[in-house]
Amino acid sequence: MTITGIAAIGAGLAAIGAGVGIGKIGGSAMDAMARQPEMHGKIQSSALILAAFVEAVALFGVVVAFLQG
């Protein structure tokens, strides 16, 4: 397998990690919003920030895959 193929697998693994992470954040945020609809705005903005943190780690992986592939 070439280095490009391995880089593509790495990008895929990064996407899986980010998917699990953002999925958990989104699910918990939905739960919280259903319990306390009056906190809707605050929960949404902190969920977005946390999703950005998770996504950043995945994007590090994607950038490395770009550089290798």
Partner: protein, 376 residues
């Protein structure tokens, strides 16, 4: 939205004088641009039989360039040439990028100000005195040419100036809207901008930095929010060749550097104590935490830089990759699928433009808030 629309229409109707002056500027800019339209006198290679290389096409579109390549007309590229400014041994050298006749492989040699220059993969090289053609080593790097200091007005620089002009126009008009109103009610475009500015103040500035200190940071937060947002949107306009300014690592590096410098200089005693001598933990733990906190100080701006760069670049790459599926499969049947998918991704990217501007701003505000937090 329903409150914006009537105000916007009213703004367009009332502020026709501003629109008139804007129209003048806009059309003179268009005519100026058309006068730069350069047609290639010769085409270097005809690659009709060569297999389509999506990676090269995508990289060509994502990277910075010395011209706006608009479209191909009967095999000749139609483009908007931008000036090239170089700092060489003979001083400042300038010529139009149209003199390369769209050659990006280093075949066309341009003589200017006593130097001979070639363009190779959107980089300008100066040939050595005795060299007549570019020679390459095994890695396809030129061996007989050096890179001069390149100060060119590239595609990204050009788009940045346009966005700066547009932002100046929008915000000076907004300021005038407040100045001219008798009762403090915003008029014209100010009515549209006010909710956005209040959003940055009430959702980003106040909760992240604190009621007492947010005012000092508001100019910076508003500037980066609107600057990143408008440049993200410009990146999605196809006719501008998707000038990928906010997907340029140098651009995001500069913005992240500003955040880093402001955080470092507004850090109070408490902030530095939490970095070098964490209160409330045993001494071995303090020693262990110090290097981690110092690394964390630098990782924060680096992650800001990479997040914006990678998000915007990834968006461009996905749209272009979906488009290049048509040429990879060489079939029109693929076109509806790929157009539909890229439309879908483009709509998502329009949301991402705002979200990334918001994230960059809110994280900057968070870091400022951490730096100015009082002991509790």
């Amino acid at each position: 939205m329903c409150t914006f629309a009537p105000k916007l229409i009213k703004a367009i109707l009332i502020k026709s004088s501003i629109l008139n002056s804007f129209r003048t500027v806009f059309f003179s800019a268009v005519f100026l641009a058309i006068s730069f339209l350069g047609f290639a006198k010769e085409k270097q290679t005809t690659q009709d039989d060569a297999p389509f290389d999506p990676k090269a096409m995508i990289l060509h579109h994502v990277k910075d360039a010395h011209e706006f390549h608009l479209w191909d007309w009967k095999g000749t590229p139609v483009s908007l040439s931008l000036p090239i400014l170089l700092w060489t041994d003979n001083g400042l050298t300038s010529f139009s990028s149209s003199e390369f006749h769209h050659d990006d492989e280093g075949h066309t040699i341009v003589e200017a100000n006593g130097g001979r220059f070639v363009k190779l993969h959107e980089k300008i090289y100066q040939l050595d005195a005795v060299a007549t053609t570019v020679a390459y080593d095994a890695e396809h790097h030129p061996t007989n040419a050096q890179k001069p200091i390149d100060l060119s007005i590239t595609r990204n620089v050009f788009m940045m100036w346009i966005s700066v002009a547009l932002l100046l126009f929008i915000f000076l008009t907004t300021a005038r809207g407040y100045k001219n109103s008798k009762d403090g009610v915003p008029t014209g475009i100010a009515g549209f901008m006010e909710p956005l500015i209040i959003f940055v103040r009430d959702e980003i500035g106040k909760p992240m930095i604190g009621e007492h200190k947010y005012k000092k940071y508001m100019p910076y937060l508003l500037t980066i929010f609107f600057f990143i947002w408008i440049n993200n949107i410009f990146g999605l306009i196809p006719i501008l060749n998707g000038a990928n300014l906010s997907g340029n690592i140098a651009f995001t590096f500069t913005l992240a550097m500003f955040t880093f410098i402001i955080t470092t200089f507004s850090g109070n005693k408490n902030y530095w104590k939490h970095i070098f001598w964490m209160p409330g933990v045993p001494v071995p733990m303090k020693l262990f935490l110090m290097p981690i906190e110092i690394i964390g100080m630098f990782v924060k701006p680096i992650s800001l830089m990479i997040r914006l760069f990678a998000n915007i670049t990834a968006g461009h790459v996905i749209i272009l990759a979906l488009m290049s599926l048509i040429f990879v499969f060489k079939s029109v049947a693929i076109a509806p699928v790929s157009v539909a998918f890229s439309l879908f991704i483009t709509v998502i990217e329009i949301i991402v433009t705002a979200i990334q501007a918001y994230i960059f701003t809110i994280l900057s505000a968070l870091y400022f808030g951490m730096a100015t937090e009082e002991e509790h």
